[in-house]
């Protein structure tokens, strides 16, 4: 017999050799061989081969390649003591962690401080974002609550939070899609007088009783069903009740609003929660609007949209907003307007959740900003973790002896890893506690900046608690896992000999990458800060096209013509006042009405909307708005003449400005003559492009009075102004503000953003520097000998400094290459919102890299100078 025929297939043997665990191979191959021989004898070669393969297939099972269990090997120790129980070891881990942290104080401090800063910012940002996202989320069935808003389709679409006054009634009675419809009109800053003759300025809301069945503003006194039923009923909040009436019962007391309404308090509302945008504390039946501000409800007018005249609806369950948007609301437009106007007036539903965020509909917060903050928070935590990883991996080498000893004494990888994680957890927990305290302390500052009512209390806020818990876990793992693995991987022999160096190519490049990332984050924030600061300075100092200095604005509570002219003549007699003008809105104001225009003999309305300012004849001279053609308005109290701006002339398609002079124009239904053209000025914020504008005399719309005052004797002038004013408006409260503050307010939110981003950039740089400092100090100790040798061989201090500097310079430049395109992209996105904006030039980027370079070199230099000045004898002798 030739032995060859008895050989089982070679490939099968090799396959088993490949996949089977080493301690099983001998046995399996032997068994297979033996069976093969036996079967060959009994059934023949072919069957034997077939069985052989079947056996191999049936052998395939995890047990085939599982390694030999440790306990099978003979061990000197009892079998069950060889795997340490990590929980049982925890005590020891914590003890050792505290010893270690105590020993390496600077390491501990740097890590704790940087983690604290990162986490504190993250906690603040989290609370801020959560606060904003929680707006109006306490109303039952909030998914079915919507606000009807208007889309005015002119040349461009304009959005308006308000609806024509009859909209609520039409929606309620003509269609059966809504469960409840509540109209509400907000009138800011009305004077409320008490029987005790105390007067206060309050925001008043005129609301349908249904308003309270749509929203959850519970009554704590009075009956909910009749709350706003009577003509003279009023609801006030508990807070106001206390302010007005102290401890005595508020229900039944009388209030007077301005001079027109006498009301009786019929109920007290629970205080408004912080997370609602409804801030009026006095609610009055909607019907009273007719008596208080008839101009708002003028003859059921479908043709005017006032942003304060709003309408909320709660849809019936099962009715989708989309279907209402596509059927019901267009149908309302079509029935109540003629063909032309129904194209112009379109209405849509805005979900309640969107009310706080939609900036086009006067939302309070841009979601974009929240996202920016969330990203910044993420990056700050990341930088802190990066610090930790950097320092810890650098430290790992210094700890090699300890690891070596531990390994030689039988410590396993898992145990070493968890020991290091415990250390990280101790630091992170300490940082977290301090960070929460820090965030808690800085809440008042943030509240003041944003004018919000945020609070941080992890003990009654489960979301925050959950966030803190997960943040802790994430931070511990992000910062502890990698250095822990590095530590646990050390070969005990190498580690004990002290032959580990930090130049293991892999670890070092990772560390470099992390430093680059940190630099990039800092630079990104610096670029952002610089661009924002430039833009805001540009906005506030740009030539807005009018004079805003030394102008005081005083509201006029009642625009009866007789009172205004009385006030005017009184004020003109005051010595410190150089000029007086009456108008509805100051030159820069986002609150401005718009209307259609019909020009000259053209048959149709123009395609664009024109903004309207009601001003008297002193407005143009006082704000020094240049007149380019024609003349200023003549004194009048009714609409007779119009002034247009340059953009309006262009929009009308006229060749020269003089073409407009003397022509008739019908704006908002009132006919007048165009008498002059003014130079374009920024009558809204710089975010918006200059649009067509007309100015006209219209006494009934004047709501403010502008006074050019002599700054040398300002306080006494204002005091006298107040006495004169109070004589004419005895029942109102005198307030005044400066024009330039007014302009600033347009950019208030941006200023707040700038301040915050500056603060975050500072934190990022600080944290980055801490890490850098730690890294350099570590390098300095590592390279002490090298520096000693170099110095002995004649290197100068500057050479040694360069040794440190060149490395970081390289990393910094790489980081800059990453950060600058990103920064350019982000800032361009932000700047696009401004119709008039700066172009971020190379100067900003150069400045950004200069700042980081300066800070980095200061940090690196500080430590490396010390290293390079060290006496080489000392460093070389120590062993």
């Amino acid at each position: 017999m030739k032995p060859k025929t008895f050989q089982p297939p070679r490939w099968a043997e090799r396959l088993i050799g490949r996949i089977a665990a080493s301690h099983l191979q001998e046995e399996i191959l032997g068994d297979l061989f033996e069976l093969f021989q036996k079967r060959n004898r009994r059934f023949g070669l072919f069957a034997a081969q077939l069985f052989y393969m079947l056996d191999i297939v049936l052998l395939i099972h995890p047990r085939l390649w599982r390694r030999a269990p440790e306990k099978v090997k003979p061990s000197l120790y009892p079998a069950n003591s060889s795997t340490p129980n990590p929980i049982a070891m925890l005590n020891n881990y914590i003890k050792v962690a505290f010893r270690k942290l105590n020993r390496h104080k600077s390491y501990t401090v740097i890590n704790t401080v940087s983690l604290t800063m990162g986490i504190a910012c993250a906690v603040l940002i989290f609370s801020l974002v959560k606060y904003h996202l929680s707006f109006e989320d306490f109303h039952t069935g909030k998914d079915r609550i919507f606000r009807i808003y208007s889309e005015l389709h002119g040349e461009k679409i304009a959005y308006n939070t308000g609806v024509p006054n009859p909209m609520g009634q039409a929606f309620r009675s003509e269609y059966a899609v809504a469960e409840t419809v509540g109209r509400i009109a907000f009138l800011p800053k009305r004077v409320v007088s008490l029987p005790s003759n105390n007067r206060f300025e309050e925001d008043i809301a005129f609301a349908d009783p249904e308003f309270f069945s749509i929203f959850n503003f519970p009554l704590i006194e009075g009956s909910a069903s009749h709350a706003l039923q009577g003509q003279n009923a009023a609801l006030i909040t508990e807070q106001l009740a206390r302010k007005y009436f102290g401890h005595s019962d508020a229900v039944g007391q009388t209030l007077r609003i301005d001079d027109s309404l006498m009301l009786q308090v019929t109920g007290v509302l629970a205080d408004l929660p912080d997370n609602t945008d409804f801030r009026s504390q006095i609610f009055v039946p909607f019907g009273n609007l007719q008596r208080h501000s008839p101009w708002m409800v003028e003859k059921d007018w479908w043709m005017s949209v006032n942003k304060e005249m709003q309408c909320f609806v709660r849809l019936k369950p099962g009715i989708s907003a989309a279907s209402v948007n596509t059927t019901v609301l267009p149908a309302i437009s079509n029935t109540h307007y003629d063909k032309e106007a129904s194209k112009y007036f379109r209405f849509k539903l805005q979900p309640l959740a969107d009310v706080h965020f939609n900036m086009e509909l006067r939302g309070k917060t841009d979601k974009k900003n929240l996202y920016t903050f969330a990203w910044i928070g993420f990056f700050l935590v990341l930088t802190a973790c990066v610090n930790f990883v950097n320092l810890a991996t650098a430290q790992a080498v210094a700890r090699s002896r300890e690891i070596g000893v531990r390994k030689a004494l039988g410590s396993q990888r898992g145990a070493l890893f968890w020991q290091f994680m415990t250390e990280t957890a101790v630091i992170a927990t300490a940082a977290l506690v301090v960070a929460v305290a820090l965030a808690y302390l800085s809440v008042p500052v943030v509240n003041q900046l944003f004018e919000i009512n945020l609070s941080i209390n992890p003990f009654n806020d489960t979301y925050l608690l959950a966030f803190l818990g997960s943040l802790l876990v994430v931070v511990v793992f992000c910062s502890g896992a990698y250095p822990g693995l590095i530590l646990a991987r050390f070969q005990p022999v190498v580690a004990l000999k002290g032959k580990l160096t930090q130049s293991s190519p892999h670890g070092f490049s990772l560390r470099k990458g992390l430093v680059v990332g940190q630099f990039a984050i800092s630079q990104l924030l610096i670029i952002g800060t610089l661009v924002m600061a430039h833009q805001l300075r540009y906005s506030q100092q740009a030539n807005l096209g009018f004079e805003k200095n030394a102008v005081v604005i005083v509201p006029v509570p009642d625009n009866q013509t007789s009172k205004i002219s009385a006030l005017k003549s009184e004020l003109n007699r005051l010595s410190g006042i150089e000029n007086v003008t009456f108008f509805d809105t100051p030159p820069a104001s986002d609150a401005i009405g718009r209307s259609n225009i019909q020009f000259d003999t053209r048959p149709e309305h123009e395609q664009f909307m024109i903004s309207i300012k009601a001003v008297d004849n002193q407005y143009v001279p006082m704000f020094k708005i240049p007149l380019l053609a024609g003349r200023n308005l003549n004194p009048s109290d009714t609409i007779r003449e119009y002034l247009l701006n340059e953009t309006a002339i262009k929009a009308l398609g006229l060749k020269t400005m003089d073409d407009a002079i003397g022509k008739a124009a019908t704006i908002n239904g009132r006919r007048g003559t165009v008498v002059g053209v003014v130079k374009d000025f920024h009558f809204r914020s710089l975010r918006t492009a200059i649009e067509p504008l007309c100015m006209t005399t219209r006494g009934e719309a004047y709501g403010s009075c502008g006074l050019k005052i002599n700054l040398s004797d300002m306080s006494s002038t204002i005091a006298r102004l107040q006495t004169e004013w109070a004589k004419i408006y005895p029942s109102s409260i005198f307030t005044y503000r400066f024009m330039d503050e007014d302009v600033e307010r347009l950019y208030k939110l941006d200023n707040v953003l700038l301040r915050l981003i500056q603060a975050f950039a500072a934190v990022a740089i600080f944290v980055g520097c801490l890490g850098l400092y730690g890294l350099v100090s570590f390098m300095a100790t590592q390279k002490a000998k090298e520096i000693g040798v170099r110095k002995v061989l004649g290197a100068k201090t500057s050479d040694v400094l360069w040794l440190f500097g060149k490395e970081f310079l390289q990393l910094l430049l790489i980081a800059f290459l990453l950060a600058s395109p990103l920064g350019w992209w982000f800032t361009n996105n932000w700047l696009r919102d401004f119709a008039y904006h700066i172009e971020p030039g190379p100067g900003i980027f150069v400045l950004a890299i200069m700042i980081t370079m300066f800070v980095a070199f200061f940090t690196v230099g500080f430590r490396s100078i010390r290293a390079s000045l060290a006496n080489p004898i000392k460093t070389l002798r120590s062993e």
């Binding site: 001998e26 046995e27 191959l29 068994d31 049936l58 269990p69 099978v72």
Partner: protein, 109 residues
């Protein structure tokens, strides 16, 4: 302890190891089982069962001598441990008890 629980097949394999006494190795066990159970048993199943029994410390193993029949490879020989014996006796005791509790008429169909 989980390890003392004997599966049915484990019990059969353990009994076979005891029966083969000094020459209990996988192919030997396989052949005996083939014969007694009257159904083909795959090598993989026997291997895994023996490994499991060893992990439960019911058998111990050692390598025997290499033989030409096995292509120059040695056998792994198994011996039942004291724990193994106890487990077998326990299994038998339980069975006997159960059998003793069955009345004559129980199978009266």
């Amino acid at each position: 302890m989980k390890g003392t629980q004997l599966g049915e097949f484990e019990e059969v394999v353990l009994l076979t190891v005891a029966m083969l006494h000094d020459n209990a190795y996988s192919v030997g066990v396989l052949e005996v089982l083939d014969e007694h159970l009257g159904r083909p048993v795959s090598l993989g199943v026997v291997h895994r069962t023996l490994q499991r029994l060893e992990e439960k410390k019911l058998v111990v193993s050692r390598f025997g001598e290499a033989s030409a029949e096995r292509g120059g490879r040695s056998k792994r020989l198994f011996t039942v441990t004291y724990e193994g014996e106890l487990a077998l006796r326990e299994a038998r005791r339980i069975r006997n008890q159960l059998w003793a509790g069955i009345s004559e008429t129980a199978f009266g169909h």
